[in-house]
Amino acid sequence: MSAKQLAKKLKQQFEEIVSGPVEFRGELTVEVSDASQIAEVCRFAKEALGFDYLVDLTTIDNYEEAPRWTAVYHLYSYEHFCHLRLKTSVSEEVSELPSVSTVWRTANWHEREAYDMMGIRFAGHPDLRRILMWEGYPYFPLRKDFPLAGKSSEMPDVAFSDPAPLEGGPFVTVAGGEDSTAREPRVRNPEG
């Protein structure tokens, strides 16, 4: 069965909340409008449609837009040999998604990373601790409002951090500039 057929089946099952599928460069994306049901959608995708492998679980910060967070689930089926991408959005006030770690066990670490970097919590996760930064680090460094250089923090006997000197940077490229001078990497401070 192709990814398109499987996406259609998913849509039949969850008619009110699943839209799409949208195809871009041969990849199919399905939007799930109700984030609180993402775990059920994922369970159906695994158990009924054969998407037995969660390739990646990642998050997007739509800074200054609502809803702020988008979670992206990349699925692969070793039964049908095809990919499917699920997307669901959640607002900053909620900042919580149901955990899919009971569906795919690999989601355990993926969700811990999403929590560590973005600060999105996963309800029902068995062990929601930071995975890259240390326990007690006060910030979520992949959020758009976190400065590239970092911030100071202090945990006596555990770890500390300081802002890094950017020496005039960050050197940022801007897509869609008029000429190559406008597009090339230059010092563009987020404040200025």
Binding site: W134, Y139, P141, P147, A149, F160, A164
Partner: protein, 175 residues
């Protein structure tokens, strides 16, 4: 031909060398550095190459890589020191017995390198007293050997025994 001989004559003096204790201690120390390989990133690969047959760090007497800080006196920080790792590096350094030296190998250990980032310590000299910095990303094994030779020069010029005297005098004064 003059009968006066300048320097050491083994026929006259036997197997005796005259030197200062300080020079002798320096000589012992600089030719038997036992490195603590603090391999944290890709520089550690070059560190391993330096220890292997082609570059052979044992030509300089530093081949005894000890994975215990208690048996080493030279910490080679090879790689990116993250903030999460920084205090662990410091703790390992603290467990090394004196006298001890530190080589910051490569751009990351020296300055943070290309990682101008929230996660990376901007130079291991923020937590440790570094004796030799080695440039490169990663440095060639020859560069590490050059750094080791510079450290040996530094050690041979360090006062070892002379230092002991004022320290003891202070103790007496306190007592």
């Amino acid at each position: 031909m003059s009968s006066t001989e300048v320097g050491y004559n083994s026929k006259v003096e036997g197997d005796v060398v005259h030197t200062t204790l300080d020079a002798a201690v320096s000589w012992f120390r600089k030719h038997s550095l036992w490195p603590m390989p603090m391999g944290l990133a890709c520089c550690a690969i070059e560190l391993m190459a330096t220890g292997a047959s082609r570059f052979d760090i044992s030509r300089f007497g530093a081949e005894v890589m000890r994975f215990s800080p208690r048996q080493s006196d030279l910490m080679i920080v090879a790689g990116t020191v993250t903030y999460k790792m920084a205090l662990a590096v410091r703790r390992i350094y603290d467990q090394m017995p004196e006298p001890k030296w530190v080589i910051a190998m490569g751009a990351c250990a020296s300055t943070g390198g290309m990682y101008r980032s929230y996660a990376v310590l901007q130079g291991v000299d923020r937590i440790l007293p570094v004796d030799v910095y080695i440039s490169g990303c990663p440095p060639r094994p020859e560069a590490l050997l050059e750094g080791l030779m510079r450290l040996q020069n530094k050690i041979s010029n360090e006062p070892h025994v002379k230092d002991a005297k004022p320290a003891r005098a202070r103790e007496v004064a306190v007592a």
